[in-house]
């Protein structure tokens, strides 16, 4: 069953400035999709179009069978540079994720946010400010904020690229663990990345984009069993395929 459908999306900034040129793919239920492409090909913009933050110049986004415009309650977002508000405590930052849930009372929001922070391993940091956290911890708050509203679709914009490799690895495995054990309510994930290994490690499907104006060059399914062995032949072959496609 299709969760999110990207149908022939185009985006341009002006007559000679086409960034995205007719991109189509979908993310089905329980599917982890990576979008990968060369720098400047507009993949971050594409993600923002799906999120409803940017209006495309052509095409439409389908969510749960309906064409949508603007932001939706069930679609959440994790930012590359965390985007935490420095003047709110970590708990308050996570609570922001509940803003669209009008029927929820303050007490319930506090509880949900606390539980989510705990799930991300940050209990004890509820009432401190983001500036005491390391990069990895900040991104955990960002993820907690994105998940606290029980979204169906999680969009992630290069979520690990601002972190050092060790922290990123830890965070990746945590996410894989949670997704595998269905600890998180999320059904589908669309992640933008430029890290091929990460894409092959995490996704069920990789959408490979060309350089700007970007089109879909290939959509590759990955059927390897999780946890994936990064040194297995299948894994490396898959990486080679992606690299080769990107190089063309």
């Amino acid at each position: 069953m299709e969760m999110v459908g990207v149908e022939d999306i185009s985006y341009s900034l002006g007559p000679e400035a086409n960034i995205i040129d007719g991109v189509s793919f979908d993310a089905k239920k329980d599917e982890f999709v990576s979008v990968i492409g060369p720098s400047g090909c507009g993949k971050s913009t594409l993600l923002r179009i799906i999120a409803g933050l940017v209006r495309p110049t052509g095409g439409k986004i389908i969510y749960m069978g309906k064409s949508i415009q603007g932001t939706s309650k069930g679609i959440s977002f994790v930012f590359q540079d965390f985007a935490l508000l420095p003047w709110l405590t970590n708990l308050e930052n996570v609570k922001l994720g509940c803003s669209m849930m009008e029927k929820m009372g303050e007490e319930e929001k506090n509880k949900k946010a606390s539980i989510m922070l705990d799930k991300m391993g940050l209990s004890g940091f509820e009432h401190s400010f983001p500036n005491v956290l390391s990069g990895g911890m900040k991104q955990r708050v960002g993820i907690a904020r994105a998940l606290v509203s029980d979204p169906r679709v999680l969009l992630m914009d290069e979520p690990f690229s601002s972190l050092d490799e060790l922290t990123a690895e830890t965070l990746r495995s945590d996410i894989v663990y949670h997704l595998k054990n269905k600890n998180l309510p999320v059904n589908s994930v669309i992640m933008v990345t430029h890290n091929v290994e990460e894409a092959v490690e995490l996704s069920d499907k990789i959408v490979i984009l060309s350089k700007k104006p970007s089109k879909v060059v290939a959509i590759k399914s990955i059927k390897l069993k999780r946890p994936r062995d990064k040194r297995s032949k299948e894994f490396l072959d898959m990486m080679d395929f992606v690299y080769a496609t990107l190089a063309k």
């Binding site: 900034l13 971050s44 913009t45 923002r48 999120a51 409803g52 933050l53 940017v54 932001t71 309650k73 679609i75 959440s76 977002f77 930012f79 590359q80 540079d81 985007a83 508000l85 420095p86 003047w87 709110l88 308050e92 922001l96 994720g97 803003s99 669209m100 400010f129 500036n131 990069g135 904020r145 509203s149 914009d157 601002s162 972190l163 050092d164």
Partner: protein, 533 residues
């Protein structure tokens, strides 16, 4: 008025305004040179930094305008006789310079301090001489801030120019003869409305032309040195801090003209997750905080001791001191009341400009032009319009105070807003934060640092403006005045030629402002910046 005399009037007014503008440009040129030198020197020499910053900090809070009569007396003395008007012009230019340099110095200082460490390492590796470093690294690096602060300094300088020129007409001997001040002053005295209106229109025209044909091209020229790439729509993510540094660095190093440098530079910035960042003098490193505080408190202590000593030696001064303190209380109340009014207007305006509209560059231009019109120039019109109403002097003073301070609040907040993460609006949109929650959790809290730094400068500006706000004298005639206040006292003592009283008032004012800044504003700023950094 017939056509010929109208043309004649316009020509005279244009000449008057043009000569005032020449003074402004002279002041700006000198100010930029001084500020860039001092700023770069302070940012690159640790020992000098610890002395220069506290001194500049104190000097910038001094109510310069209050010292104007003193300045005239000092500078003009060697220029008696035929060169008198040259002396007066120099005095006015000096005054304008002292109003312009402080924020440019801090802008330069901050832009150099936030340069990544790699640049000084590069200079050492490639053996760049001091001149080369200056030419290829420091000056381009501080250019954008110099332009940005010059626009603000221009508005500030205009205020001082107009006010000091008009003020000087009060003393028959020390008038600035050709300038906007006398152009405004004579119609006030003769009651010539057409002349006044024309002078105002020509003034505004000059302001707009300067903004469009001098500052705008300069701004556009300086953007090539910008670290940030402004995207057309605010929703497209701007490059992260690291990427921006990288882009800036590669551009800079291409200018240095070496392929090897470009490759090394991009490798260096790519592997760094975040450059070293020191965000300005208020929260700079602890290691020179000790000396900084020592110098600051030292200066304050010296002033108080000297003043106390003088008062002890001349008992009659105690009477003056009592007068001054009384007047100070009244002015204090006025200043804080009008500051509250300015805040209540400025906050919604700023929130609108920063968060709720995408056309902020157009609005900013509009506000910049609006703010360039000094309150002083409108005083005659305001005073005239309100003449006869109860508490007329107080209302005039209140309006002038608000007009003086509101621009500082708006500009400072807008400037700080530039450093806000671009994702804030995206966060607001994606998580659907609306209404009162958005105001409480996002808008208001985001602008607090800007309100504080704006507040310091706004209140200082109000104190400066008190000279004209509380008692407006033109050509010897008092146009409007309040019952009791510090500005009023200063003017009265000038008129009575009582330099001792003026001096006592000035010292009290200076000490009060320094104490307020050190123990109220800076503390507030330090506490806030710990959360916001």
């Amino acid at each position: 008025m017939d056509f010929i005399s109208l043309i004649g009037l316009i020509i005279i007014l244009v000449v008057d305004t043009a000569s005032s503008w020449l003074r402004m440009f002279a002041a700006l040129a000198v100010s930029v040179v001084i500020s860039v030198s001092v700023g770069i020197y302070a940012a690159t020499h640790r020992k000098a930094e610890r002395m220069i910053l506290p001194i500049v900090d104190i000097l910038q809070t001094l109510p310069i305008l209050a010292f104007f009569p003193l300045v005239i007396a000092i500078i003009v003395i060697p220029f008696e006789g035929t060169y008198l008007s040259l002396g007066i012009n120099l005095a006015v230019i000096f005054l304008i310079i002292t109003s312009m340099i402080w924020n440019i110095i801090f802008g330069v200082y901050e832009s150099i301090k936030t340069l990544p460490q790699e640049y000084s390492e590069l200079s050492k590796l490639y053996g760049l001489t001091r001149l080369e470093r200056l030419e290829k690294i420091y000056i381009p690096a501080c250019m954008p801030r110099v332009v940005e602060q010059s626009v603000l300094s221009w508005s500030i300088g205009l205020f001082y120019l107009v006010t000091s020129e008009i003020f000087s007409t009060g003393s028959a001997n020390y008038t600035v003869k050709i300038g906007i001040g006398s152009a405004i002053a004579s119609p006030i005295i003769t009651g010539n409305v057409i002349s006044y209106a024309l002078a105002l229109v020509i003034f505004i025209l000059f302001v707009v032309v300067t903004r469009l044909f001098f500052f705008k091209p300069w701004e556009e020229y300086a953007t090539r040195y910008n670290k940030h790439v402004e995207e057309k729509t605010s929703e497209i993510k701007r490059p992260s801090y690291v990427q921006e540094m990288g882009e800036f660095g590669t551009k800079l190093m291409k200018r240095l003209g070496s392929e090897r440098l470009v490759r090394i530079g991009s490798r260096l910035t790519r592997s760094r997750k975040g450059g070293r960042r020191i965000s300005g003098y208020a929260d700079a490193g602890k290691d020179y905080d000790e000396l900084y505080r020592l110098v600051k408190y030292g200066i304050i202590a010296v002033i108080i001791l000297v003043a106390a000593g003088v008062v002890a030696l001349r008992p009659y001064l105690i009477g003056y001191e009592a007068m001054v303190l009384q007047a100070l209380v009244f002015s204090f109340a006025r200043v804080w009341l009008t500051f509250a009014i300015s805040l209540s207007i400025g906050i919604p305006v700023c929130v609108y400009l920063i968060f709720l509209t995408r056309h902020n560059s157009k609005y900013l231009m509009f506000f910049q032009i609006l703010s360039s019109i000094p309150a002083t120039i409108l005083l005659p019109a305001i005073a005239n319009a309100l003449r006869g109403t109860p508490a007329y002097g107080e209302v005039v003073a209140l309006i002038v105070f608000v007009l003086s301070s509101i621009w500082y609040i708006i500009f400072s907040t807008m400037n700080v807003a530039k450093t806000l993460q671009p994702n804030i609006l995206e966060v607001k949109n994606i998580f659907g934060v609306k209404g009162w929650e958005a105001w409480k959790k996002i808008y208001f809290k985001a602008i607090i640092p800007g309100l504080i730094t704006g507040g310091i400068t706004a209140v200082a500006a109000e104190w400066n403006a008190s000279i004209v706000a509380e008692s407006f004298t033109v050509g010897g005639t008092i146009v409007s005045h309040v019952g009791m206040g510090l500005g009023e006292l200063l003017d009265a003592s000038l008129a009575a030629n009582n330099l001792v009283l003026m001096f006592v008032a000035l010292i009290n004012l200076t000490v009060m402002i320094i104490l307020l800044n050190t123990f109220v504003w800076k503390r507030l700023y330090r506490r806030v910046s710990r959360i916001y950094s």
